[in-house]
Symmetry: C2
Subunit: 324 residues, 2 copies
């Protein structure tokens, strides 16, 4: 049974009249078609959420009987209210050329990692690598991650949990951010195998460049007198307690800090406020990936601790969000 | 007693521990200073809302004991929950040069209009104009507008309610949008007196240019098969019933329409969706002022009725939001 049929059954079971649909940017092209299909098959009115959605941490509430969220796996520790996660599955695995490209640069014992999108490929890739003589581990999920071997931009549990058992990691995916987090959290080589380009590469240069940039951000914030501490409103990103702790920590060290609460964190929305530097407790990707878009230095909580003298640069840690 | 003292009394009366602060863009420079002042005087923790705020229609909920909103007057028909409207008052009226500049182009009987920012100047300007021999009317407020003579970008009641009694209008303010709405809704001359530039001018050319642009938008949308109808989540902008009516109207005329619900309406957030044209039921300024930022034509509800053949171009009406 297809996902739409499964959804139609749930709509009927709940006697839903209105259905909200949430898409990440990459799936927007499917939105109107899916809304029309659901309206025709389930005899409901669909409402597309046009607030951007960046993950299962970010499921906006909607005035509808049922919310349908696409493109992300639910985070096990969150309580979602009337949300159906519409599973598009992984695309067909048509070639292992990207794994072949990775083989020459892989150590003997490897941890296999990926994102939600490619999770269904994991057993096949593991088997292939084992045939090629590698010892392959896939880390089990935890309270914030749904699938074995799955990484989030804010959670590297499936990598760190197996760090003693591997010599390095193979990340199957397209971007730099997730494997970067692994490379910074665990001092072992990370290889990216990119299924879209069919190529593989080591991550060392990216890691060095980003660490230099983070060192620069910390240096730029060293003399800041007033900090703005950003807190997200999104259900899986709220870290208000941590922000309050950081505010008190700043004040203990003779710095001023104010809390800034927001839904979408965007450089435009922060312009004009008289702070010298930002500390971001929302999605950890923001300070790292969007760094150059911000006029003022933007730090992770751990970097802010370095600025305040509460942590050494040698204890630098990549920011992760923990489930409480 | 100053506004901050009045606020401190309310904080004490409510025993509030946390105070949320909301600023329009133009007041962001005051945010940190005011937060620090309130924290010192009222012994609370302040949380600045960094979601952009565009009016009293747009008061985001916050997890605090008291919300402080600056820069806008409350809309009488809305129920605000624990919101204190911090009144900065009007700036001092130091010169009437902009009124002198308007005098030569003003008809004998004029309606006096302005925005929240300059409302305290109205009696003095009225008296001055009367001394110069003009008959001056100031329209009373209604359920959506707090002050006599006050315009909102979505409500021109204080202009239309006196249209039979005046030969034209004098708008005191800095932008084109509000007087443009008056000029389109009432077929009488509108003069803008700009207190910041100290100048005055008639609005005729702006009105002609915008009406040509609106005509163009309607023409571009005439062959659209699929419409996206935008609905705002903001308390003073939600028009879901109207959107549902427009969806049914579209379907009656053999067009497809899907509802798009969002908080902030922004061109980026609408990219990628497969619609041929947008219909905006959120803030009426969006379709008019931001028109050129959208790749696809974006219409007001009244313009959409023209596209569907339910209204004549000769009945063109500027969009306003009505209180139900």
């Amino acid at each position: 049974m297809g996902e739409t049929d499964r959804l139609v059954e749930i709509v009927r079971g709940r006697n839903a009249k209105t259905v909200g649909l949430q898409f990440p940017v990459g799936l927007r092209t499917k939105a109107v078609e899916l809304a029309q299909e659901i309206e025709a098959k389930a005899r409901v009115t669909c409402i597309v959420s046009a607030d951007p959605s960046f993950g299962a941490c970010d499921v906006p509430d909607m005035p509808v009987d049922l919310i349908v969220h696409l493109g992300h796996a639910p985070m096990p520790h969150l309580r979602y209210d009337r949300v159906f996660f519409y599973d598009l599955g992984s695309p067909p695995l048509t070639s292992l050329a990207f794994i072949d490209a990775a083989l020459p640069i892989l150590p003997p014992r490897i941890g296999l990692l990926t994102t939600y999108q490619f999770r269904e490929w994991m057993p096949q890739i593991k088997e292939y690598l084992e045939k090629k003589g590698r010892d392959v581990k896939i880390g089990p999920p935890d309270r914030r991650v749904a699938y074995a071997g799955q990484l989030l931009g804010c959670d590297y549990h499936t990598a760190t949990v197996i760090q003693e058992e591997v010599d390095g990691y193979l990340y199957v995916g397209t971007g730099d951010f997730h494997p970067l987090g692994v490379a910074i959290l665990v001092d072992k080589p990370v290889v990216i195998a990119d299924p879209e380009r069919g190529t593989a590469r080591r991550l060392d240069d990216v890691k060095d460049r980003i660490l230099r940039q983070r060192h620069g951000a910390i240096a730029r914030a060293m003399d800041a007198r007033t900090f703005g501490i950003i807190v997200s409103k999104k259900i899986g990103q709220i870290r208000m307690e941590m922000a309050m702790d950081l505010k008190r920590l700043a004040e203990k060290h003779g710095r001023a800090a104010e809390i800034f609460l927001m839904d979408l964190v965007s450089p435009d929305f922060l312009e004009g406020y008289r702070v010298d530097a930002w500390v971001n407790t929302a999605c950890p990707r923001i300070a790292i990936e969007d760094y150059l878009q911000y006029k003022k230095p933007i730090l992770t909580p751990q970097e802010f601790e370095i600025v305040l003298g509460e942590r050494e640069w040698s204890d630098y840690a990549f920011d992760e969000i923990r489930a409480y």
